[in-house]
Amino acid sequence: EDKVVQSPLSLVVHEGDTVTLNCSYEVTNFRSLLWYKQEKKAPTFLFMLTSSGIEKKSGRLSSILDKKELFSILNITATQTGDSAIYLCAAASGTYKYIFGTGTRLKVLA
């Protein structure tokens, strides 16, 4: 059965800290790994990763995929209160399936 597991389930840090969020996956016909940030409403797209070892970066956020060990990490440096959200990862499998993890709830304290 296809599955995506995220850890930790929740995390509380102080502004300025660096955090690492983990996502492991087991899916058939893997195509890509996606990260989303969800605040109050719709998940918003952060990264899509298809190749191992190539870091994607956007400002203070970065992510990398390891297709051999079947995991991805999302790093956030110099965290800010605006980074507080649920971070979701999803593995794209086959023609239509995007399997989501249950998310990591991040709270950044001022």
């Binding site: 195509r31 890509s32 996606l34 409403k41 719709a42 998940p43 918003t44 797209f45 899509m48 298809t50 979701l88 999803a90 794209a92 499998s93 086959g94 023609t95 239509y96 399936k97 995007y98 989501f100 993890g101 249950t102 998310g103």
Partner: protein, 114 residues
């Protein structure tokens, strides 16, 4: 651009009643999806459509039906609502139904079945 528009934003529905959740996209994406999001269970796929005129069942399709008469619209119908269908429903779309492009989400419909 509007992206994906869902309506209504929220709804309280009596058990046994029917309801259609509306979803419209203006990005000309081929593929569209309906997910439900429940605490502790994450996002689960209800139904999907890779192109206009075709639909498929996702992980939790029972009690729901969809249609895809054109590219832009993908309504989700609950024929006879039950309390376990209380959830937040997200419509999403992607350029290609091949897992090679990201999903874009609407703002969701919060449904409470009493």
């Amino acid at each position: 651009t509007a992206g994906i528009t869902q309506a209504p934003t929220s709804q309280i529905l009596a058990a046994g009643r029917s309801m259609t959740l509306r979803c419209t996209q203006d990005m000309r994406h081929n593929a569209m999806y309906w997910y439900r999001q429940d605490l502790g269970l994450g996002l689960r796929l209800i139904h999907y459509s890779n192109t206009a005129g075709t639909t498929g069942k996702g992980e939790v399709p029972d009690g729901y039906s969809v249609s895809r008469a054109n590219t832009d619209d993908f309504p989700l119908t609950l024929a006879s609502a039950v309390p376990s269908q209380t959830s937040v429903y997200f419509c999403a779309s992607s350029s290609y139904g091949q897992g090679s492009s990201p999903l874009h989400f609407g703002n969701g419909t919060r449904l409470t079945v009493t």
